[in-house]
Amino acid sequence: MTATQKDPVLVVLQLTGGNDYLNTLIPYNNPLYRDNRKAVGIGDNQILQLDKTYGFPSYLAPMKQFWDEGKLAIMHGVGYLDSPRSHFRSMDIWHTCEADKVGTEGWLGRVVREFDPKKENVVTAVSFGPCLFRALAAPGVPVACVAGPLETYGFLPGIQEKTQRLAVLERFSRMYTPIPGSGVMEYIGTTGQDSLKGADILKVAPAKYKSEVKYPDTAIGRKLKGIAQVHFADLGTRVFYCDYGSFDTHAGQSPLHASLWGAINQGLEAFMADLRAHDKADNVIILMFSEFGRRVRDNGSGTDHGAAGATFVLGERVKGGHYGDMPSLEAKKLVQGDLNPNMDFRGIYSTILDKWLHLDPVPIVNGTYEHVAFLH
């Protein structure tokens, strides 16, 4: 089941740790912004104005370029009711779409199962991160998890000498032959062989890849390059996942936030240039989310956990613009000092599922949520 070039692809970039919404989309004319951000406010001379209301900090220059091109959708006030302000719980809710109980299936795990119910392509989803993100986890759904460089992905990456490596993996594969009826041994065998197959398939990607584009040598630069390599190799991958952080800027926020977003912006600039140069951009959208925004009033050097945040979708087929409004900064409108969410993240997922991936969103996000019109 090889995907055609037209098959839509979703790239998710997770901004782990809680990105500061107010310093990403600065309401620069709002006096309450200045009142609340005495320590970590962004100076007027460092603001790239998007319009008369909002501005990016200067370290988002490449994203400003995408904005000017009309390729960047900005969703305001995103979150959900009763935000718990805990990284882990909040991330779980974003991953499983279960706000009231602990979910066992990730929303993208369900997407993969829809795309490939018979498990014909073990690289339908490829994740670049240290672990299997819960968003991708679902029983019986294979996900290739690439923790290091793609070139060394697979079992026993420490064994580099080529003939020895081949010999080891051949033995490995035979040792994992699933014997039907052997219960857990059969299951581990299947899993081992799926993973091995995935590693085998992905291995061709860096070898096939040729590009003039230089990616920055940062963790996110390497991940985005890996995604481009797999995407260019036409392996039928429909969902890519990667993370970057930590955006948990309780202290020393100003330089930290600038370096985090700086790395992401340089990475995205290279990634989009690479995709465009190879005619591989028009079937890709990039979703960028964080588990929550941060507290309105700074704490003297950083900001604490908040509620509503901003979510971004970038791509050639995206209808650029603002969606929704920033929740009020007025003290009486805040919830425990935080912006009160006015857009449910599951509405954004639903839009992507419906209009981009052409799947029924209701069983995937566990309900019906208002869609957001950011796709053509």
């Binding site: 718990p84 302000r85 805990s86 990284h87 882990f88 719980r89 779980d92 109980k101 602990v102 073990v122 994740s127 240290p130 672990c131 299997l132 986890a137 294979p142 996900v143 290739a144 998890c145 923790a147 697979g154 079992f155 026993l156 990456p157 420490g158 064994i159 020895q164 010999a167 080891v168 033995r171 490995f172 035979r174 040792m175 994992y176 032959t177 219960g183 857990v184 041994m185 299951y187 581990i188 065998g189 899993t191 081992g192 799926d194 993973s195 995935g198 309780h250 704490n299 003297g300 604490d304």
Partner: protein, 468 residues
């Protein structure tokens, strides 16, 4: 020298009642005997506790790690790897599985670590006393919202989980019992948290608020009275279902994999007689854990359960680090080591829910399998680590060997492990590429050491190695 069967049995005991052991330790224990080893494990007080100052000297941030996962996990991992009281630490992990409390909500590793300490100090004592301490544990109170359980407005979260997950199991109480138990625990609260930042962290303390307690009459599991929380616990532990539930947990954790807890009132235990025997011991000894553990570890069903338990990520990581050695000092880099179980699907101090981790086969998925194999292979293939060197020295002492002997010896020194005939054949075929293994010259010895590392890597990559 100890008999091979004795070594294999002691190795089984140490994998289950601890986190495995190197061959030197196994031989020393086998010389003392199986029963003496069980006694030593149970009477852990005779061994020194872990030295926390060594940890703090290298990782000061591990003292009050706040919300940082690596530092909270560094602290816990240091104890797991360095304890000389393996069963104390294994039982603390057991109770962490049962009374699963997660940093996802608590957002404070200081409190999570304090709860683990509670399990260390009380985990092998009396279950009734432990349950009472857990009910008064601020971390648990916050985790299950008992601080929101008021005399005027009952919150059933703690009352329900107490019965469903911590003592009786679903099907052994009614909704009325949940309500009445919850009423009895009203007013069991903790001192108000001070804001975390910028004032630092203060330990949470239990606080009983009589004005918030519902002192009315409660009808609970056939008893009636003006019960308070402690009365509820006394009634709970007298239920036959309680003994069976806790003992099934012990069986699942120490003996062989059971279905997941929510299925327990639907599916019978795989060995009902074993659970009944343990439950009878539990009741006869009035909830004392040591006699139950003694009965378990000396039973035939335990001794016959070799390799019937899929290793949890904690067992994989801790077992590997204790075998290879070299991690006695918490040097920089410990943070990454301590996060390894989470990469394999077991985020210690942060179970996915109050139900705890799903165990057995559910530990395995593509990423998790790759993570566990790659981690263990990287460690075991590092022939500079003391534990791996010890394996090489023992092989060297055997002198020149054929590929078959090399495979047998490595399987022996890594377990002794039992593998299927197909696996054995693949391992032997692999070793044949090197021909005869010799240690006579420096060059031969270097090559033999390298090949040993390579073979050990393939062995830890087998399916069989995933079982304990």
């Amino acid at each position: 020298m100890a008999h091979q069967d004795d070594i294999a049995l002691i190795a089984h005991l140490m994998r289950r009642a601890g986190f495995g052991a190197g061959r030197d330790e196994l031989e020393a224990r086998a010389a003392k005997g199986y029963d003496a080893t069980v006694e030593e494990l149970l009477n852990f007080e005779a061994q020194p506790p872990v030295d926390p100052y060594m940890l703090l000297r290298y990782q000061p941030a591990a003292l009050l790690p706040g919300g940082q996962p690596p530092m909270g996990n560094v602290n816990y991992m240091y104890y797991l790897v360095n304890t000389k009281r393996p069963l104390e630490e294994k039982m603390a992990l057991f109770w962490h599985h049962v009374f699963a409390t997660g940093n996802s909500k608590v957002d404070n590793y200081d409190q999570m670590l304090e709860q683990i300490d509670l399990f260390r100090h009380n985990g092998m004592g009396n279950y009734r006393d432990l349950l009472l301490k857990v009910a008064r544990n601020p971390t648990m109170i916050f985790w299950l919202d008992n601080n929101q359980n008021h005399g005027t407005e009952v919150n059933e979260n703690w009352g329900r989980e107490l019965l469903e997950l911590f003592s009786l199991g679903a099907g052994n109480y009614t909704e009325v019992d949940v309500r009445e138990a919850s009423r009895a625990f009203t007013g069991w609260n903790f001192e108000t948290k001070l804001p975390r930042l910028p004032y630092g962290r203060f330990p949470w303390k239990f606080e009983y608020r009589p004005e918030d307690h519902d002192d009315g009459v409660k009808a609970f599991l056939g008893h009636k009275g003006n019960f308070n929380g402690e009365d509820i616990i006394d009634i709970v532990v007298q239920q036959p279902a309680c003994a069976k539930f806790i003992c099934r947990h012990l069986y699942n954790f120490f003996v062989a994999d059971e279905p997941q807890v929510p299925a327990w009132n639907l599916e019978p235990p795989r060995d009902p007689e074993a659970v009944d025997m343990l439950a009878a011991t539990f009741r006869a000894n009035k909830c004392e854990m040591k006699p139950v553990l003694h009965a378990l570890f000396t039973s035939d069903f335990f001794k016959n359960a070799r390799f019937k338990h899929l290793k949890s990520p904690a067992e994989v990581v801790v077992g590997t680090l204790r075998l290879t050695g070299g991690y006695e000092v918490p040097r920089p880099g410990y943070g990454e080591l301590s996060m390894q179980p989470s990469y394999m699907g077991q985020d210690l101090l942060n179970p996915p829910s109050v139900e705890g981790w799903h165990t057995g086969q559910e530990w395995i998925n593509s990423g998790a399998l790759m993570s566990r194999i790659n981690f263990v292979a990287e460690q075991i293939g590092n022939t500079s680590l003391p534990g791996v060197q010890a394996i090489v020295s023992r092989l060297k002492a055997k002198g020149t060997m054929e590929p078959e002997q090399l495979v047998d010896s490595c399987l022996d020194l890594l377990g002794p492990m039992e593998v299927g005939s197909e696996t054995k054949e693949e391992l032997t075929e692999y070793a044949r590429q090197w021909g005869e293994i010799r240690w006579d010259t420096a060059a031969q010895s270097a090559a033999a050491t390298k090949h040993t590392g390579e073979l050990l890597q393939l062995i830890v990559a087998t399916r069989e190695y995933q079982f304990a």
